[in-house]
């Protein structure tokens, strides 16, 4: 779909969302969410990322109005306090993991539902539904029943249904989780283009870090009901706030090192260093460890496994002491199990956790 057409004919307001001390304690006394303060800028796509049970879905449901925060918490859309409003009066668009399409209605009837509820005149309704179906490449499916659609088509209908009412914010609860890998990639691209084009404030919940990195203007990494870090995908990837974030996003190696007087000892090598002193734990991404010769290498080890991934070969290297390291080598690398290798570490790309 050409972006220019979309921006001209269909552009939505960019309403900021503010959460103030929004916590959630469930009836049994279980704390699902520690009190949370967060501002989501107008037009921004923010992704809540974390393992199951981290509180990301609870946060989304509080924004949606499907759960209310514990007393004292407030949810604001722009200047309006919506804390007391149920979901049907918040004017949000919501997309569910299980689609939540109405099996008793056709595709067009599903999309028209929100407009009917809003008492939009029949002619206007028909035109807007048609426009929306075209935007989502669903025109030919208008008369189909939901059980005649594939998973990807269903989720596109769900998006169309949520957007046609011009909601103030769009909320997506793991929308791609039920799809197979290939569909997931293509629909993710489609959602990305859609969100950029519409200019709507979007909140996206996922446990998939790839989705989070691709879609989020900012990512909120959550663990055990708390926010572990808020930042752009690059910040989260290159400057993780703690070990949990580092491990959750991408692959992270851990190296033991000792620093003293401006130098850092790793394995047999001594490198210039400006980080903390004493015994440190170093975090290094696989792509920041380079294969080297015995003369210029810092750390020796034996290849324990080599996995050919096409564009690269992922090696698991066991050093003389310490945990195994994951290293990316060229795809055409001939290295295999049992080979002796040397690794170089770039101290500028190493994160130290004291």
């Amino acid at each position: 779909m050409p972006d220019s057409v979309m921006q001209n004919s269909f552009h939505l307001d960019a309403v900021p969302i503010r959460l103030e001390r929004c916590g959630k304690t469930f009836a049994g006394g279980a704390r699902a969410l520690e009190p949370l303060d967060l501002t989501i800028h107008g037009g921004e796509t923010i992704v809540f990322l974390g393992p199951s049970g981290c509180g990301k879905t609870t946060t989304l449901r509080i924004i949606a109005g499907l759960e209310s925060p514990d007393p004292g918490g407030r949810v604001l859309f722009g200047e309006e306090d919506v804390t007391a409003l149920p979901i049907e009066r918040r004017n949000v668009g919501m997309v569910f993991q299980s689609y939540a399409l109405f099996p008793n209605m056709t595709v067009a009837e599903n999309v028209a539902y929100g407009l009917k509820v809003r008492k939009v005149a029949r002619a206007d309704r028909g035109r807007r539904v048609e426009e929306m179906l075209d935007l989502m490449h669903l025109g030919e499916f208008a008369g189909r029943r939901i059980d005649q659609l594939s998973g990807g088509q269903r989720q596109r209908v769900a998006l169309a249904r949520a957007l046609v009412v011009r909601p103030r914010v769009l909320l997506l609860d793991e929308p791609l989780t039920a799809l197979d890998a290939k569909l997931r990639d293509s629909l993710r691209l489609e959602i990305d283009r859609l969100l950029r084009g519409l200019g709507i404030t979007a909140v996206y919940v996922t446990h998939d870090q790839g989705e989070a990195m691709a879609l989020g203007d900012r990512i909120v990494v959550m663990a055990k009901g708390r926010v572990a870090q808020v930042g752009t995908p690059r910040e989260i990837y290159y400057q993780p706030a703690d070990g949990f974030v580092a491990d959750f996003i991408g692959t992270m190696n851990r190296l033991g090192g000792m620093s003293r007087g401006g130098t850092l000892s790793i394995g047999s090598a001594t490198l210039p260093w400006s980080g903390p002193e004493g015994a440190v734990e170093l975090l290094v991404r696989p792509e920041d460890l380079a294969l080297a010769g015995e003369a210029d290498g810092h750390l020796g080890g034996t290849v324990a496994a080599a996995v050919f991934l096409g564009d690269r070969t992922r090696l698991v290297v066991e050093p003389a002491d310490g945990p195994a390291l994951t290293v990316d080598a060229a795809g055409r690398s001939e290295l295999g199990r049992g080979d002796r290798v040397w690794l170089r570490v770039d101290p500028a790309r190493v994160l130290a956790v004291p």
Binding site: A64, I87, M94, L101, P103, V117
Partner: protein, 267 residues
């Protein structure tokens, strides 16, 4: 294996014979009874000739009971729809021990003998106004007896669809509770509601245990009339009466089978 699949052994014929015997055991009396209703003279046998005289006689004498039975069945259906569908919805949306307990309690009228339920009703409400002599008294008994079947049928369908998420989807589009219930909940439970409705109609039309105690000479239903005619009139009339009853009940039974074969709606 080879000989078994090619040549049917004595085991096959034994099983077939047994199955046919059981079928005959169940169907022959029914067929005999209906045939008796069409026979000019039962004691002489079929050679006395076939006639519709007895059926006409039944329709003339007992049309009142047939109409009352239909009236009660329709009213009973209306009551179980109004009470049972919301009850099933409440049970489906509220998981937990109390909901399960209520579900079990709802089955009680089925487990307790109809006569006992009827006695309890008479003892409790028998002296309330004109209720005892009204057809409404029978209606109360029928609703009590058939309600669990409606609740169970609707609950089964509600349990097979993700009602909570469907409703959340409708709510996110701005639909309030009543609108969600009418446009999303009810249409998607249609197969359960239909199955429950046919069940209630069939059970109410054929109900005898409760009705026998609850009825008065002026509020006789079809099954009660049937018992009367067997006890006091010619066997041909009783049999013709059975025939009429079958003609009323079989279409709804066939519909019910058809519904259950079509299965649950796919989500």
């Amino acid at each position: 294996m080879h000989s078994l699949s090619n040549r049917r052994g004595w085991g096959f014929w034994l099983q077939l014979g047994f199955t046919l015997l059981v079928c005959a055991l169940l169907t022959v009396p029914m067929a005999m009874s209906m045939l008796a209703g069409l026979t000019a003279n039962y004691f002489v046998g079929l050679k006395s000739g076939l006639t519709l005289r007895w059926v006409e006689e039944v329709l003339r004498v007992y049309s009142g009971t047939i109409l009352l039975s239909l009236q009660i069945a329709v009213a009973c259906l209306a009551c179980t729809l109004v009470l049972g569908v919301p009850a099933a919805y409440a049970l489906a949306r509220r998981p937990g021990r109390i909901a399960r307990l209520v579900e079990e309690l709802l089955m009680m009228p089925v487990a307790i003998p109809g006569l006992a339920t009827a006695l309890a009703l008479i003892v409790t409400y028998g002296s309330v106004g004109d209720l005892r002599s009204s057809w409404l008294f029978i209606l109360i008994g029928h609703v009590l007896f058939t309600l669990p079947f409606m609740v169970r049928a609707v609950l089964a369908v509600m349990g097979s669809i993700d009602l909570t998420t469907l409703e959340e989807g409708a709510a996110s589009l701005g639909a309030g509770f009543l609108r969600r219930f009418a446009t999303v909940v009810l249409p998607n439970c249609r197969s359960g509601i239909l199955a429950g409705s046919l069940m209630v109609l069939t059970l109410s039309v054929g109900e005898f245990n409760l009705t026998w105690l609850l009825h008065t000479p002026l509020t006789k239903t079809l099954p009660v009339g049937l018992a009367d005619s067997y006890a006091s009139l010619r066997i041909e009339i009783g049999s013709a009466y059975t025939l009429v009853f079958f003609l009323m009940i079989v279409p709804s039974l066939i519909l019910m089978q058809g519904l259950s074969r079509r299965g649950r709606p796919s989500v």
